[in-house]
């Protein structure tokens, strides 16, 4: 998916961009409203992540103008202000959702997906592996054209594998990606989810291979 990140804090922006590329997303970065407007003129994005306090103005202004000019791309506002401090919320100004800094990246991703899905999925983001089709936007998996229901964690696990086919993931890596930092999860917990996902992928050409003592990887038959 293609993102536009509007964020003036360069360290934070770089960190977000790094984190996004880890999930296989492409993103442009604008540090000012002016630059953001230039980007928006020439490219189409699936989603805009918009900081509210920017050096050359208020992100809400960009939001209002963009919506007034019938810009359709979903926007998630990133705000460091408290939710109770703004009487006119960003949602009233046309944002699809907002997230208070600092945020959990999994939550950001979940919100992005929810927003894009609500919009009807801006761009197709379909990946094919033999008889298996995965739509990264809607989070739908089809095997031999039969839809398969996945729980959120199973889906996220599948996505980690699909974004890097063939790559080996240790159990601890998967724990870090899948569980919140609040839970002290034993590495074995990941086995439960791998087992469930394997069951759902039974008839698929995609298989999760166990590398003994190393971890798991996805492979195509």
């Amino acid at each position: 998916m293609r993102y536009l990140l509007v964020e003036d804090n360069l360290a934070l922006a770089k960190a977000i961009l790094d984190r996004m590329s880890l999930n296989g997303h492409v993103a442009d970065h604008a540090a000012r409203i002016g630059t953001a407007n230039d980007y928006l003129k020439v490219s189409d994005y699936d989603l805009i992540l918009l900081d509210i306090m920017l050096p050359d103005g208020d992100g809400r202004q960009l939001l209002k103008e963009y919506r007034a000019n019938s810009g359709k791309t979903p926007i998630i506002a990133l705000t460091a202000r408290s939710q109770v401090s703004d009487r006119v919320g960003v949602l009233d100004l046309g944002a699809d959702d907002y997230l208070t800094k600092p945020f959990d990246f999994s939550e950001l991703e979940a919100r992005c997906r929810a927003v894009i899905r609500r919009q009807g999925g801006a761009a197709e983001n379909i990946k094919r592996f033999g008889n298996t089709v995965y739509d990264g936007v809607s989070g739908k998996l089809r095997v031999d054209d039969i839809p398969i229901r996945l729980r959120n964690r199973e889906l996220r696990l599948l996505e980690i594998f699909i974004n890097a086919p063939g790559q080996l993931f240790s159990k601890s890596k998967l724990v870090d990606r899948l569980f919140s930092y609040e839970d002290d999860v034993a590495e074995n917990a990941i086995e439960v989810y791998v087992a469930r996902l394997r069951k759902k992928l039974e008839s698929s050409d995609l298989k999760i291979i166990t590398e003994r003592g190393m971890g798991y990887r996805l492979s195509l038959l």
């Binding site: 360290a11 984190r19 460091a80 408290s82 109770v84 401090s85 979940a110 959120n152 964690r153």
Partner: protein, 461 residues
């Protein structure tokens, strides 16, 4: 919170008393002046007729054949009868020797001036009479003869007339007073009206409305309104500064935390060594803890601040909870928790939407946080005759039995929270918001099975 203003007297009352007593005095003066005037007129009238009568008798006194003859003319008494039916007495003397009439009738007292005829008032036969005496000097064969005529008339008729006029005049006085009283009430009312209008326009304002008073006001009130406007200006500025300060503080704290957190996350996905991994996880946890604490502290400050200046409006609790649930769904999804909101008809309450939103969000947040993965959080509405509520039930760890009542206190957390990150302010905020709206918060555990059951109630509008 607000002290009652001490009132000393009332402008309207003072105006009423002053104007009414003025009008009363004027009415009394009017009454006495008019009564006096008519009394004088009536007396003068009687005196004039008595004088004319006396004069007409004296006029016919003549000397005939050495004899004094007085042929009292009929008109002399008939003219007196014209005025009233009062009794008339007369006395005629010649050189102070009684000739005819009532011997005992006294003469009118001599006036200070020697003018004729003399007029006075006396008591005769138990009645008040008006006396007129006049004299005439005749010459009887060169001998002067002093003829004196006194005519008296009782004053009953005059008194009746006066009493009649007095009644009329007192009615006039009373009418004057009544009209003056109506005008007084009206003028007092219209004098106080701008004050009342100002009071209404100021008290009708919402707590956030600190604009200067713009409505036209009488010149005399300009200094007061001017001072009020300046005061509101200062208040607005200082309120704005506190709000801005809290918001800015949040921004300052959160932005660097966001940077560190995201970088730590990226680093976590790159490191291979387990001890580094554990350290980074710990770091992220600490960041989450501090940002959660900072966020809730600032939210708590803002909520405390806002509860003093509630911006109450009519709102639909159902719609608000519906939106919040939709908003929290992605977060619940991360733990495969299903948020189940029971439908309802619109539920209107009066409240500050931002504060109530924050309270409900805190409760849903808690339900998700303390629930196990793949569980259910049930939300349903409560609709009573006087109150409207929201019940949130989860399948999580529930509240510990022993310290449940302390959980709404600042920084108090349940003894069973384990490693879950929290500030101990969430329920404090909820309790503050509910308290400011005259509602109630109940913290229970589910009767059956485990999990918490939180009930939030607001008075229905």
């Amino acid at each position: 919170m607000t002290d009652r203003v001490r009132a000393s007297g009332s402008i309207r009352g003072r105006l009423l008393i002053q104007l009414l007593s003025g009008a009363g005095i004027l009415a009394l003066i009017l009454f006495f002046v008019v009564q006096n005037f008519t009394k004088q007129l009536a007396e003068e009238n009687q005196d004039n007729i008595l004088r004319a009568s006396v004069t007409s008798i004296l006029d016919v006194a003549a000397v005939q054949n050495g004899q004094i003859t007085i042929d009292i003319p009929y008109s002399a008494f008939s003219m007196l009868g014209n005025v009233s039916d009062d009794r008339v007495f007369y006395k005629i003397t010649q050189n102070n020797i009684f000739l005819t009439g009532y011997d005992s009738l006294p003469d009118a007292k001599p006036a200070k001036s020697l003018s004729q005829p003399r007029v006075s008032t006396a008591n005769y036969l138990g009645e008040e009479v008006r006396l007129v005496t006049s004299t005439r000097l005749l010459s009887n064969a060169g001998v002067p003869v002093l003829i004196s005529v006194t005519i008296a008339q009782t004053r009953n008729g005059q008194k009746q007339t006066l009493a009649f006029i007095s009644r009329r005049v007192s009615m006039l006085g009373f009418g004057f007073f009544a009209i003056a009283a109506i005008l007084t009430v009206y003028s007092a009312q219209s004098t106080v009206r701008p004050l009342q209008q100002l009071a209404v326009s100021v008290s009708r304002r919402g707590p956030q409305d600190l604009r200067p008073v713009a409505a036209p006001i009488p010149r005399e009130m300009v200094p007061l309104v001017d001072a009020l406007n300046k005061f509101m200006g200062r208040l607005k500025k200082s309120l704005g500064q506190s709000e801005e300060f809290i918001a800015e503080a949040a921004h300052r704290v959160r932005t660097p935390l966001a940077t560190v957190r995201t970088q730590a996350e990226v680093a976590l996905h790159r490191v291979e060594q387990d001890e580094n991994r554990v350290a980074l996880r710990e770091m992220i946890r600490a960041i989450d803890e501090s940002s959660r604490a900072a966020g809730q502290l600032l939210d708590h400050a803002m909520v405390t601040f806002r509860t003093d200046y509630l911006e109450v409006q009519k709102l639909d609790l159902r719609e608000m909870v519906f939106d919040l649930v939709e908003n929290m769904r992605p977060v619940a999804d991360l733990k495969d928790i299903v948020l189940n909101l029971e439908n309802s008809s619109p539920l209107s309450i009066m409240g500050d939407s931002i504060l109530i939103q924050n309270a409900v969000r805190n409760l849903i947040d808690n339900a998700i946080k303390y629930s196990p993965v793949e569980s259910l959080v049930k939300l349903r509405f409560l609709q009573g005759p006087r109150k409207i509520g929201l019940i949130i039930q989860d399948e999580g760890i529930g509240f510990p039995k022993e310290d449940r009542s302390d959980l709404t206190k600042r920084f108090v957390r349940g003894s069973n929270v384990g490693g879950r990150i929290g500030s101990g302010l969430g329920l404090t905020i909820v309790d503050d918001v509910v308290g400011a709206h005259g509602g109630s918060l109940s913290i229970e555990n589910n009767a059956k099975g485990n999990g918490a059951c939180v009930t939030l109630c607001f008075p229905s509008s």
